[in-house]
């Protein structure tokens, strides 16, 4: 596998060049994975695409990058910690842009210069970012034909001139690898094309949208927020194609309340947001719990608190997702643990929400949501999703919306059903839905709402367990990729290691957790939050072995596989 950073100030085209490379890698039969780091400026801020290519599936980043290519330096030096390099790495800059910033040069990486802007200028309509894409392709052995075919597909509509300029720029960059003596150290073996229809290229946010629609979501209320906007942007036109609708609304309070209204009307509904939006929605999530209206809220987490770091990842919304609501408000919290899992987990969240008549929070994050990857196309999953609805009542029967049932699930009348008119209530209520402050009604309804989540059999999907042995990494969300990569290094060396990645965070599954960790005497918890939110959550709900440590840090720096390995090595030596 080979890891590349392609950087430049916003507008220089680093991300679009990286996207071309990613797709070309897919065409050439490689797997590929790309995340991005974008600064605060709308345009002109530092922008970096982090890429990793492989013959085998790629699920996370490596410890270090082999190549850093920068179209310009601007303030890229401030973000050196996000693109770790080493003495074996290669930094490629444009001589017109001056020296490599000290923070990057300090890695001791070899430096090379390619006059990308000048090369681009020599081609009418040529752009530096396409020259850069050509350079990277040449460096890693990605066939030029694959790049050209991607560019032809994406630029055909712009006419022959633009196409010719791009192709020339790609070739000039490709040839520059030999011309400037950049070497062959980073070449990958040729890819193994999987055949048509076997692989796909998708972002986590798109996969989230696709999972939602597959689950049956047909109404979305949308308020834009980084880094969740792409979920909404993909769902808008896609929902329209399948007879659903997305409506942009005035704020997040409207978003959550619109989907409460739409779902009350019988249409499975969703909104997507980030931390600040989730904070605003929290009161109304409690309404959905109390009135038993199913819905899904996707929170693509970013650095917090407050506005925080909008375009960079962190796993720090766990506490608000679990505990944000006032009162005793049982609800679902789920977290995808990879780009493709965004599809499965969101699909499952819709299924559970509809089945259990409860809100489901899906905690994705920027690292997964805005990651784009070339992957094997997963098999389609089918859930028997069915909201239990009430049948028309005949004269004399009294429909009880909140009937206290053994399962805790009560048939929900959809407006239009004769004889079942009721008022969905945020006030505590009796089984008929009439407001009630009686202790008995409160207890019965609290029990019912807790029971329906507790009694349900969530099956094996509650977590992913890999490996065996007496040591385990327990993690969640986007830390799962690095954890698996760390474990794979043990496995490669013949050592044992379990990785447990929890997908269903609430309700907790103590029996399944104990089963998954049976025989484990050493647990390392891995997460990306400053206050170790996940560790504290595990401590509160699960039996952990006496030897339990936590490796946690705030975003936006991703957890690297070698850091996880180092934790265990230090532990063994202690």
């Amino acid at each position: 596998m080979v890891s590349i950073v392609l950087a430049g100030s916003g507008g220089a085209g680093a991300i679009s060049a990286a996207t071309v490379l990613l797709e070309a890698a897919g065409m050439a039969g490689w797997y590929a994975y790309m995340t991005r780091s974008v600064g605060a400026q709308i345009r002109g801020g530092e922008t970096a695409a982090m890429l990793r290519f492989g013959i085998e599936p790629v699920t996370s980043h490596d410890d270090r990058f082999h190549v850093l290519l920068a179209l310009d330096w601007k303030n890229l030096g401030n973000f050196a910690s996000e693109m770790p390099l080493c003495a074996e790495s290669l930094i490629i800059g444009d001589p017109e842009q001056g020296d490599v910033p000290e923070t990057l040069a300090a890695s001791g990486a070899r430096q090379a210069e390619v006059p990308m802007a000048q090369i681009a200028q020599s081609i009418p309509g040529g752009r530096g970012n396409m020259v850069a894409a050509g350079v990277i392709a040449g460096l890693i052995g990605l066939p030029l034909e694959a790049l050209v075919s991607v560019v032809v597909k994406s630029l055909q509509h712009k006419g022959d001139k633009v196409l010719a300029a791009s192709n020339q720029a790609l070739r000039a960059g490709f040839d520059a690898v030999d011309e400037f003596g950049l070497g062959t150290a980073f070449r990958l073996h040729p890819g193994r094309p999987a055949g048509p229809g076997k692989r796909w290229i998708v972002t986590g946010n798109q996969a989230t949208g696709l999972g939602a629609i597959r689950g049956g979501i047909r109404y979305v209320a949308a308020y834009p927020i980084t880094p969740a906007t792409e979920v909404l942007e993909w769902m808008g036109p896609s929902l329209a194609r399948v007879g659903g609708a997305l409506v942009q609304v005035e704020d997040e309070l409207a978003a959550i309340n619109q989907i409460i209204g739409a779902s009350y009307g019988g249409v499975p509904s969703l909104t997507a947001t980030a931390g600040p939006g989730l904070s605003l929605m929290t009161e109304s999530l409690g309404l959905a719990v109390a009135s038993e209206i199913p819905l899904v809220v996707v929170d693509v987490m970013r650095g917090g608190p407050s506005t925080g770091i909008p375009a960079k990842s962190e796993q720090s919304d766990l506490n608000i997702a679990l505990h944000g609501m006032h009162g005793d408000a049982p609800h679902l919290v789920l977290a995808p643990n990879s780009v493709p899992d965004c599809m499965f987990t969101t699909h499952w969240a819709v299924h559970l929400a509809e089945t259990l008549q409860v809100p489901a929070l899906v905690l994705s994050d920027q690292a997964i949501g805005q990651a784009r990857a070339v992957l094997d196309l997963p098999a389609e999953v089918v859930f028997p999703t069915r909201r239990v609805v009430a049948s028309p009542q005949t004269e004399g029967e009294k429909y009880q919306r909140y009937a206290v049932t053994p399962s805790g699930i009560s048939p929900m009348a959809i407006p239009g059903t004769p004889g079942c008119q009721y008022t969905a209530e945020g006030l505590e209520h009796n089984p008929a839905g009439a407001p009630s402050s009686r202790a008995e009604d409160h207890a019965a309804q609290l029990d019912k709402r807790a029971r329906k989540l507790d009694l349900y059999d969530y099956g094996d999907a509650w977590a992913d367990l890999e490996g065996s042995g007496e040591c385990a990494i327990v993690t969640w969300g986007s830390c799962t990729g690095p954890a698996l990569e760390a474990a794979s290094r043990w496995w490669r060396d013949g050592a044992e290691m379990r990785v447990l990645s929890i997908r269903l965070l609430s309700p907790v599954q103590p029996r399944r957790f104990a089963q998954a960790l049976a025989g484990v005497d050493r647990v390392l918890v891995v997460e990306q939050s400053h206050s170790a939110q996940f560790y504290r959550y595990l401590r509160a709900h699960y039996e952990l072995p006496q030897q339990c440590r936590v490796f946690h840090r705030a975003g936006p720096l991703p957890v690297r596989p070698e850091e996880i390995c180092a934790q265990f090595s230090q532990w063994s030596n202690a």
Binding site: G26, R199, A221, A254, A262, Y422, T423
Partner: protein
């Protein structure tokens, strides 16, 4: 309108009596509260329209008047404070076949829910919004609301008065794009019934402000029955007349539709051109 009402009653074909739209739950309202009359006028209006109760939804937020859905026999949703309009909008857009009504008070609609009010007017979804305005927060026992006069000293929270210019809901509704605007008085239920019938029939976002006295915390509002007067016919001539009337008015002219717009209601277009299974194709290499 009176003629139409009379005709329906005289033919005797009404399948739904007003009681068909009432539940058997007793309101929490104080004796003498104006909201009883609003409830009665609403059930009369629905009986006049002969809408099947299961095809109607009434959405509300929090406050005395927001308790109204439970007292009706239609589908209801009693949500959180200030968010009735987005709930109703989501319901209407997802279920355009339903008749969706929204009810609440001046605090719920114009203070905590003020932003939604502006955008509901702009969006012009086919909703009827009934605001029972008593210029006070009644459920929390008598604090100044956005429509309270600046010098009202009845609350310990604002012992010197709020000093704030009262919110002008109908002027703002007109400016923001509401498609139907009227002011009524709960003490004239016959007129209120007529106007509610018109509001519900009118496509788009209809706002009906109902002066509805709070006899407990604003006992002086008992005098409204002597102070209100019919708005002049000229007030409802067009948008400009309505706006001028509302800006010059003392807030106590009632009984007339001030504006009927012809803006097409907001609705989502549904195409349904592909199977869900096809959506993945754009991602396949």
């Amino acid at each position: 309108m009176n003629e139409t009402l009379a005709r329906t009653c005289s033919t005797g074909v009404a399948a739904y009596e007003p009681d068909a739209y009432r539940s058997d739950i007793r309101p929490v309202w104080c004796p003498g509260c104006g909201d009883y009359s609003v409830l009665a006028a609403l059930t009369n209006a629905l009986a006049h329209l002969q809408l099947p109760p299961e095809q109607i939804a009434l959405v509300s937020g929090i406050g005395c008047s927001s308790r109204i859905p439970a007292y009706t026999g239609v589908y209801g949703l009693h949500g959180v404070h200030g968010r009735a309009l987005p709930v109703a909008t989501g319901l209407k857009l997802a279920r355009p076949d339903l008749t969706v009504l929204v009810a609440g008070g001046d605090g719920d609609g114009f203070s905590i829910g003020g932003n939604h009010f502006l955008h509901a007017c702009r969006r012009n979804a086919d909703l009827t919004y009934i605001v029972m305005d008593n210029q006070v927060y009644g459920m929390t026992k008598g604090q100044a609301s956005p429509t309270t006069a600046a010098d009202w000293r009845g609350s310990d929270l604002t012992p010197d008065g709020t000093g704030l210019v009262p919110f002008q809901p109908l002027t703002i509704a007109l400016a923001a794009g509401a498609n139907f605007v009227a002011r009524c008085f709960s003490g004239d239920p016959a007129n209120l019934t007529e106007i509610l019938v018109e509001a519900i029939r009118h496509p788009g976002f209809s706002v009906v402000q109902v002066l509805s006295p709070c006899v407990t915390f604003r006992p002086e509002q008992r005098q409204w029955k002597n102070l209100v007067r019919m708005a002049p016919a000229s007030a409802g001539a067009d948008l400009r007349s309505a706006a001028r009337h509302l800006m010059e008015d003392d807030g106590l002219s009632i009984g007339r539709v001030l504006y009927r717009g012809d803006r097409a209601p907001f609705a989502v277009k549904r195409k349904n051109t592909v199977e869900v299974e096809k959506l993945v194709e754009e991602f396949i290499l």
